[in-house]
Structures are given as structure tokens and as C-alpha cells.
């Protein structure tokens, strides 16, 4: 037996992957198939599922609805597409900002003495080890009308005897962005760091040798070579941002609905698991396709922390 195992590499591989597959298939894929079934069903009066095969939920997602004002038989209202669009916009903005902030830091860490790198990486992670809500609350305390920033500004203004009206920062899109960026920064820093850390010095030297000043060296060499890291980070940031909503609810005053809210509400307030399932499946498939495409192209496994 052992001998046979020994002589078959594929058997060994299979053996090693099995536990993972058990988890993935058992806890995710099978249930996901259930959701697929549910998404074709219809909602019952008390929020149960009537199992049929109807594409209504998907049609509804596209914005075609059968119950319309003033008795029109069917009408088009791209509500959900708008929401999806809004979430993507938020995801996009967040990702861009995160990249802008993460990059220099990652670059810095990649260039300090090796023995210090781990420490810095830790320092990046540590804030994330406080409780999420407490963190967001800290931000609220910073952004409030009578919060840290306004107090500081007020004090400074006081020094110069200037009139000062507190800035209105909390419960604005800006606040949401700040919170999102804060929550996801580390997930961008780590991959970018790894890809930067791989670049040999001789490449920078070669560029300089060929007449590139530091700025152009960055544009033409550093940036392109660290792209895989950026892409990996983008996946680790953009995808979750699409799904989350708690930050936007807490810091944005829950003024808008994002894909996350939408799905959440379907399972809870609206008690329409069928539509919820449809929505989440669509979201997943979209992101899954994008992710897989990216990862195949840039090898993203290779680029998260190392």
C-alpha cells in the first residue's frame, strides 16, 4: 500500500489536497449548488422558498419588473444595475486610493535592511488586530463635528484668532472612503511588497546606466515589474469591498445601498432568499471570472505575502 502510494506522485498530490477539497466541496460548493437551486425558486408569503424553475429573479436583477406603477404590464428600471455600478465605483475609488497609499510604504519596506522588513510588515498588520467596530468607532471619534480633527483645527484657528466652523466630515462619502481605505490598506501593502522585494538592484542600475533618471526608472522599470503585486492586491481589495457595507453604513450614515446591503436585505429584511441567492451568485460569478482571469495572467498566488 505505502509502496504503491510512494510510487505514484499523483496519488500523493491527491492525498495532500484532499482535506482542502473536503472543506471546499463540503462547506462551500455543495451549499452553493443549493443557492443556485434556490435562486430559480420563488418567495413564499412568509419568506420561505417555493422550488420552481423561474428566471424571474435574474430578469429582475437586470431591471425588468412585472409590477409597475399605473398598471403597465412591464417596465425597465435599472435600479440594481445602478447599485452594482455604485458599489463598483466605490470599490474602484477605494482600490485606487489604497494603491496610492500602499505603494510607497511597500516600496519603503522592500528597501529597508532585511532584518527590519518583518517588523515593518507586522506593524502594518497590527492595527487590523483590534476589533473592527472599535476601529471604525475610533474613526468616528476622529471625524465627528466635535472630534479630534475639528478640535485640533479649532485650537489652531484659536491660536490665530480666526473664526472656525467645524468641518462636516462624518457621514459623508469622504468618511466612507477613509474607512474603506483604512480597512483594506494592509491587503494591498503585503502583495506589492513581495513583488517589489523580488526586483534585483542591478535592474535599477541598468536603467540608470542606460540614462534613465530615478523618476523614469520608476515609471518604466519598478512599476511594471511590481504590477503582479498590484493586481494581486487589487483582487484582495476590490473583491471584498464589493461585498462589504458595514463601513459605509457606520461612517456614511447608511445613506446609500450597496450590493452588500442589497444581498443582506434580501436574506433579512425583505426575506426573499431566492432573489438574494440570485444576486449573490451573479456577483460571485462576475468576480470569480475576473479573479481567475487576472490570476492566470499574473500569477497572484505568487504575489501575496512571502
Amino acid at each position: 500500500m505505502l509502496k504503491r502510494l510512494r510510487e505514484s506522485k499523483s496519488a500523493q498530490g491527491t492525498l495532500l489536497i484532499t482535506p482542502t477539497l473536503i472543506f471546499m466541496i463540503g462547506l462551500l460548493i455543495i451549499p452553493l449548488l443549493l443557492t443556485l437551486v434556490v435562486s430559480f425558486g420563488q418567495r413564499s408569503a412568509d419568506g420561505g422558498v417555493i422550488y420552481t424553475f423561474s428566471l424571474d429573479n435574474y430578469i429582475r436583477l437586470l431591471g425588468y419588473s412585472t409590477d409597475c406603477p399605473n398598471g403597465v404590464s412591464s417596465c425597465f428600471n435599472p435600479l440594481y444595475l445602478q447599485i452594482l455600478w455604485r458599489s463598483m465605483a466605490l470599490g474602484f475609488n477605494t482600490t485606487v486610493l489604497v494603491i496610492l497609499m500602499a505603494y510607497p510604504l511597500a516600496y519603503f519596506i522592500a528597501r529597508v535592511k532585511p532584518k527590519w522588513r518583518n517588523t515593518f510588515l507586522f506593524l502594518v498588520l497590527v492595527p487590523m488586530w483590534t476589533n473592527f467596530v472599535i476601529r471604525v468607532y475610533a474613526w468616528m471619534m476622529i471625524l465627528r463635528q466635535q472630534g479630534v480633527i475639528n478640535s485640533l483645527l479649532g485650537w489652531i484657528a484659536g491660536l490665530f484668532h480666526m473664526p472656525f466652523t467645524p468641518l462636516n466630515m462624518l457621514y459623508t462619502p469622504g468618511a466612507v472612503l477613509v474607512g474603506m481605505v483604512y480597512e483594506f490598506l494592509p491587503f494591498m501593502i503585503l502583495p506589492i511588497y513581495t513583488s517589489l522585494e523580488k526586483i534585483e538592484n542591478s535592474l535599477y542600475e541598468a536603467a540608470a546606466d542606460l540614462g534613465a533618471n530615478p523618476f523614469r526608472t520608476f515609471l518604466r522599470i519598478t512599476l511594471p515589474l511590481s504590477m503582479p503585486g498590484v493586481v494581486a492586491g487589487t483582487i484582495l481589495v476590490f473583491v471584498p469591498v464589493m461585498g462589504t457595507f458595514i463601513v459605509s453604513d457606520l461612517l456614511g450614515g447608511a445613506q446609500v445601498i450597496l450590493v452588500g446591503n442589497l444581498i443582506q436585505r434580501q436574506f433579512l429584511d425583505a426575506r426573499d432568499p431566492t432573489f438574494g441567492s440570485a444576486a449573490s451568485l451573479v456577483l460571485m460569478v462576475l468576480t470569480l471570472i475576473v479573479t481567475y482571469f487576472y490570476t492566470r495572467k499574473f500569477g497572484f498566488g505568487a504575489e501575496i505575502v512571502a
Binding site: 534585483e200 542591478s202 535592474l203 542600475e205 541598468a206 536603467a207 540608470a208 546606466d209 542606460l210 540614462g211 534613465a212 533618471n213 523614469r216 518604466r220 522599470i221 511594471p224 515589474l225 504590477m227
Partner: protein
């Protein structure tokens, strides 16, 4: 324009080693490299070759002394403002760019016109026989091809001076030999100054106009291949460049071009050619004789002739390396295999006794150090 393409004046480069103590990687080195010259730096690993090169390129700045390019002192001029280019030991090709883009990079940095760039890149790639590979990425090329790309990338800038750091180190013997010829002919047709770092002495000898032999950050000797090989200034050079038999001795008498040296190992006096000028009578010296320059004679000749026993023969194809025991001293003797025999060892069978002739003009008398 100055007669020297590159000049190092009494340059020192100090590093702090990981252990924290100071190390002079380059220690008061001076050299003048003439325009259009093929200049090689030779030395064992860690002797400061790369560091010297990096100071010329501008990646490092001298701790003391000054580097001149075209007669201008370089000070802290950054690399991208020096008219020298480098071919890196590990090629340092940009993995994310095609061959074409790699070669074009330098020209774009100069802000050359698109058409212009295309023309010059094409020419450069022709020169290194890589036409048709423009679209490939470095990792799709063999070692030799990558090496050529690195070369083209540097050449396309038509630098006054080209620095090459062990460019052939990574290639296998056969390929290395080919590339040596290519490089040499390129250098001759372009008339660019080459500063070439290697630790392969045969390479240096075949290609260079002049060679600088370094050791532990110091310059040991600088000169043409022939000078270096035939007239080494000291034992290190004689030993590092090619092989030598060394016999310790004491100067008995001394004239301008002949020294009589008593060699205790052989209980005889040898006549040889004094190298250093400041040798004095009675001084302890070493006598150096190249193994290929020892004549094997059937019957004894009169002067500088010894009888010995063959103790070992190594067949290396073109030559046979014979080790002869002369009164306990081991002498290496290289004989060319000029006749094809299936057992050239029988040429000299172990134990056979032979006579060795050390001709005075082949016998160098060096300072003992």
C-alpha cells in the same frame, strides 16, 4: 578630447562589512585606459574588479581619489549622466520588455526619434546576430542570446566606453569561445574602448590589448598579455596568469640581464633573467619557469640541465602534462601531443628518467614575497 578614455587616480573604495569592520575593496588603484583600447581587469574573486567598474559607471563613489572620463573628473555624477555603458554579469535584462524594447530603452531615454530608434536598434541587433528575435522576451532566450541582448542594449547607445563585468562567466566553454571572438571583432570594428572584467586568464590573454592584474584591492601589474605572461613582475602574477614552476633560491651573482641563482632543492646554480631592477646579490628569490618552456632532451645538455624521473602524466587532449621529480623537487612539464597515438602516455611512461633543460631566457628570477 583627452588621450585617456578613462582614468583612475589613486582611487580608494572602503566598505563596511556586515561584521562592521572597514574593508578597502579598492586600495589606492590608478590606471589610464586609452581610447579604443581593449582593457581587461583580471584577479581572483573578491579582489575589487567589480567595485572598480562600478565606480567608473557611477554606481559607487570613490572614498578617496578621482575617476576621470574623457579627462573630466566625475565626482558624484550619477550613472545616467555618464557616457559609459555597462554589460552586467547577470545581464540585468528587463524581464517585462521584449528584446526590442530592452534595446530601445536607452535610446528612448535620450529622447531619440521613433524612426531613428528603430534604425539603430535594428543595426545593433544585426551586429549581435539577433535579427528576428525582436518580439521575444528575455526568458525565451538561451544564455548566449540573452548575453547578446545585454550587449546590444549597451552598444546601441554608442558609448565612448563599454564596461563588461564577466559577461561570459555564465556560458559554457564552447559558447564562451565563440562569444570571445565575436566581442573582440565587434570591439575592433566599432573602435569603442572596452573595459573587461574577468577571472578567466586565458580569456584575458586572448582578447586584451592590455591587462591589469589585481589582488586584494591592489594593482599587481598592468601591461600587454605578453608582458604579463612572459615578464611577470612578481610571484603572484606569475602564478595567477598561467602556471609556473617555482624554485626558491639565493642570488649568487648578478648582471644586467643574467642572474646566477643557487637553488638548494636542486643543489645547483641556475642562470636566469632578473625581472625586478632592485634585486641585490645574496637576496632570496624565486625562480619561475613556465611548464611549456621546459625542454625535454634525450641526452644531457651542458647548461641548466637536470636528470629527473617521470612521476605522473595527465592527458588533456592537445597536451600531456608531465610531472617530473628532480632531486625531490616536482617540476610540471607540458608537452604538446603532436603525434596521434592511441596511448600517448607511453610518450612518457611513469618512472622513466628524462633530462630537463631550463634555458636561461625562459628562467625568470623574481623577488621572493
Amino acid at each position: 578630447m583627452s588621450e585617456f578614455a578613462v582614468e583612475l587616480q589613486d582611487v580608494v573604495k572602503k566598505f563596511i562589512t556586515p561584521e562592521g569592520d572597514e574593508l578597502a575593496a579598492v586600495n589606492h588603484v590608478s590606471m589610464q585606459i586609452k581610447n579604443g583600447e581593449f582593457f581587461s581587469m583580471l584577479g581572483s574573486s573578491g579582489c575589487g574588479k567589480t567595485t572598480s567598474l562600478r565606480m567608473i559607471a557611477g554606481f559607487e563613489w570613490p572614498s578617496e581619489g578621482e575617476v576621470f572620463i574623457e579627462g573630466k573628473p566625475m565626482g558624484h555624477t550619477p550613472p545616467f549622466q555618464r557616457k559609459v555603458n555597462t554589460v552586467f554579469q547577470n545581464y540585468a535584462l528587463f524581464q517585462h520588455m521584449t528584446v526590442y524594447q530592452n534595446v530601445a530603452f536607452g535610446l528612448e531615454m535620450e529622447g531619440a526619434q521613433k524612426a531613428e530608434i528603430e534604425k539603430r536598434v535594428k543595426r545593433a541587433l544585426d551586429m549581435v546576430q539577433l535579427t528576428g528575435m525582436e518580439r521575444r522576451f528575455p526568458k525565451q532566450l538561451s544564455g548566449g542570446q540573452q548575453q547578446r541582448v545585454a550587449l546590444a542594449r549597451a552598444l546601441v547607445k554608442t558609448p565612448d566606453v563599454l564596461l563588461l563585468d564577466e559577461p561570459l562567466g555564465a556560458l559554457d566553454l564552447k559558447l564562451r569561445k565563440e562569444m570571445q571572438l565575436e566581442l573582440k571583432s565587434l570591439q575592433q570594428q566599432l573602435g569603442i574602448t572596452f573595459i573587461y572584467v574577468t577571472h578567466d586568464q586565458e580569456e584575458a590573454l586572448t582578447m586584451s590589448d592590455r591587462i591589469a592584474v589585481m589582488s586584494k584591492g591592489k594593482m599587481m601589474q598592468m601591461g600587454t598579455p605578453v608582458e604579463i605572461y612572459e615578464r611577470p613582475h612578481n610571484r603572484f602574477v606569475a602564478d595567477f596568469i598561467g602556471e609556473s614552476n617555482f624554485l626558491e633560491g639565493k642570488i649568487k651573482s648578478l648582471s644586467k640581464n643574467e642572474a646566477k641563482v643557487f637553488v638548494p632543492d636542486l643543489h645547483v646554480e641556475l642562470t636566469g633573467m632578473p625581472i625586478a631592477d632592485d634585486l641585490v646579490k645574496g637576496e632570496d628569490v624565486v625562480v619561475s619557469i613556465r611548464p611549456e618552456k621546459i625542454r625535454v632532451a634525450e641526452q644531457s645538455a651542458n647548461q641548466n640541465c637536470f636528470e629527473g624521473k617521470v612521476v605522473n602524466t595527465v592527458y588533456i587532449g592537445s597536451d600531456t602534462h608531465v610531472v617530473v621529480d628532480v632531486k625531490g623537487a616536482r617540476l610540471k612539464v607540458w608537452e604538446q601531443n603532436r603525434i596521434s597515438r592511441l596511448d600517448p602516455k607511453s610518450f612518457y611512461s611513469v618512472g622513466e628518467s628524462v633530462h630537463l633543460v631550463l634555458m636561461p631566457e625562459n628562467t625568470l628570477v623574481l623577488k621572493k614575497d
